[in-house]
């Protein structure tokens, strides 16, 4: 997968890594058992701090998207928790609030969500 790190964005780098890995898993670009780079290798390649990568991996591990092993590094796991993370829920609340403030109806918002859901093909790992 191709990680796109935007240094001028408001979203912290570790969160960008976390989000893009989650999206890649959902889109099937990363499959169960696939290896992710080690913390050191990814930090060296991207020219970022190892702590940043470590934080991203730790978040992904807590959420169940990856498993880390001292020998094999980080591996994408098929054992994803069937609940939304606190971060995602927080984003969802903000999106709903923005939709309400912009005068969008509940039906239109649900339609938009449906479109987004369809546009992002969920991999077998999540089905």
């Amino acid at each position: 997968m191709l990680l796109r790190l935007d240094f001028s964005a408001d979203v912290p780098i570790y969160m960008q890594i976390r989000n893009q890995v989650v999206v890649a898993i959902a889109e099937g670009k990363l499959t169960a058992g696939e290896q992710l780079p080690t913390i050191r290798a990814l930090a060296t390649e991207a020219g970022i701090n190892m702590m940043t990568v470590s934080k991203a991996y730790q978040t992904l591990k807590t959420e169940g998207y990856i498993a880390t092993d001292r020998r094999s590094g980080a591996v994408v796991t098929g054992d994803v928790k069937r609940v939304l993370s606190e971060n995602a829920l927080e984003y969802l609340r903000v999106i709903v609030a923005e939709a309400k403030l912009s005068g969008m109806s509940k039906t239109d918002l649900l339609k938009l969500c449906e479109d987004c859901f369809e546009a992002s093909p969920v991999a077998t790992i999540l089905n």
Partner: protein
């Protein structure tokens, strides 16, 4: 001798012209979706305006190269070696800078066209990382293959250390170990460089990265063996000037041929692998490259960065260390003619002899030999110098100074103008000296003074 030296200097420097011009002209062919330092989509390769800019750039480069080479021949009309060298270095500076100016001009024209056609996909401050290629384990050349030439380079120092005459061999071996170590270190660095990402295709990224690292690694490895071979041959044929010229010439040619072959081979593979690239998603980092030549990315913590095409490496000018190294490189290029000026001062300032109460002083430039008359064992006035080879020092048509060794194997220190006889050979408790003033009368006067002092004792 002078014309031979001029020819050697000329041919060792003029080789830069075809290398720089051919390399830069080659950048007008698409590799990794990049033409003349500008990332373009696939359809741009057949665009009339793009083809026109590329053709014009190649034409300018060809004509400039011809003018540069033709103008360099005029330098042979100069009688003085140091003046020849000064102007040759100045010419070299122009020859190095000029093609890059043409390149920057073509880069700007192509960038403007890119904006006009709306081909840009770049977004500032964005860094792309291919996780799959980073996760791949890479097989590198084993350390043992670099350790062998390093050990070979040490052979002269070890053998001569046993014999008891080790200074020259130590200098030779030290230089060899330094060069081999440099190749060894560079080999390590290239495996820490970023992957070669062109588009959203991890397999392509992995192959391009592997090709680059493998080729660069092999070049370093072969380069260190060539260096070890140079050390050995220089040591074996230390007494012969001809052998010295032949071995260093062969080494220089070998290293240049190796670097060119590796570079062109890598470029060919990059061109072939990315021949169909740029049709879909592709990586565009143009905003991080000034004129397509200088890398400037404050968000990249890397100090060194792969050149966009081929094997070369550049520095990140956004980092302080990059600015310092870039500045030093620029300063070196600008200061090159100063070497010629220094040689002029060496060539035209005469060696002098001065006699004080108990001291004989031979001076030339920064070199100064002070001989106490009490230490002098014998003195001899010579009309001809014995055949001698330079060990460390200066050997010009009008100046010989430093450490030399005669054909009889006598180690000596020299400070004189070989065209101004007579010369004084002085043997002291510290060694043998060949000294002279450019004015023969002063030399004779100094000899008489030393001779009288020795005989009086």
């Amino acid at each position: 001798m002078s014309i031979a030296f001029k020819l050697i200097l000329y041919f060792s420097l003029i080789i830069v012209v075809p290398i720089v011009f051919v390399m830069l002209s080659n950048e007008s062919k698409p590799k990794k979706n990049i033409i003349l330092g500008v990332t373009l989509p696939y359809q741009a390769r057949t665009d009339e305006a793009v083809l026109h800019i590329c053709a014009r750039f190649r034409r300018y480069m060809r004509n400039t190269a011809i003018i540069c080479i033709a103008s360099s021949l005029l330098l042979f009309l100069l009688p003085s070696l140091s003046l020849f060298l000064t102007l040759l270095l100045l010419w070299l500076e122009i020859v190095i800078i000029l093609p890059y100016l043409l390149y920057a001009r073509a880069n700007l024209a192509l960038s403007a066209l890119k904006r006009e056609r709306g081909w840009g996909t770049e977004s500032e401050g964005v860094l792309m990382v291919d996780t799959s290629s980073v996760a791949l384990k890479t097989r590198r050349i084993g350390h043992i293959w670099f350790a062998i030439p390093t050990i070979i380079s040490l052979v002269p120092a070890v053998i001569d250390l046993v014999r008891g005459e080790y200074l020259e061999a130590l200098i030779l071996s030290g230089s060899g170990v330094l060069i081999c170590g440099l190749f060894w270190g560079i080999h390590g660095i290239i495996y820490r460089q970023r992957a070669e990402i062109v588009e959203d295709d991890s397999a392509l990224t992995a192959v391009l990265t592997r090709v680059r690292r493998r080729n660069f690694g092999l070049m370093c490895c072969v380069g260190s063996y060539l260096s070890a071979a140079l050390v050995l041959s220089m040591w074996l044929f230390m007494e012969s000037n001809a052998a010295f010229i032949i071995t260093t010439g062969a080494y220089t040619l070998g290293i240049i041929a190796l670097a060119l072959w590796t570079e062109m081979r890598t470029r060919f593979v990059q061109q072939r692998l990315t021949a169909e690239s740029g049709k879909g998603t592709y990586i565009d980092e143009d905003s991080q490259w000034i004129f397509g030549l200088f890398y400037y990315n404050p968000n990249d913590r890397h100090f060194m960065k792969n050149d966009r095409v081929g094997l070369g490496t550049t520095v990140n000018l956004a980092k302080t260390s990059g600015k310092i190294l870039g500045g030093l490189c620029a300063l070196t290029v600008v200061a090159m003619p100063l070497l010629g000026l220094w040689m002029m001062s060496e060539e035209y300032s005469p060696p002098t002899l001065e006699v004080s109460e108990r001291l004989l002083v031979a001076t030339h430039g920064g070199t100064k030999y002070e001989l106490e008359l009490d230490d002098v064992v014998s003195a001899e006035l010579l009309d001809e110098l014995p055949n001698m080879n330079r060990v460390a020092g200066t050997g010009m048509e009008t100046v010989l100074k430093g450490r030399f060794r005669t054909a009889d194997g006598e180690n000596c220190r020299v400070c004189l103008d070989p065209t101004s006889a007579p010369f004084i050979r002085i043997e002291t408790s510290e060694g043998v000296y060949y000294i002279a003033d450019r004015d023969g009368a002063v030399t004779r006067e100094a000899f008489d003074f030393v001779n009288n002092a020795v005989n009086a004792e």
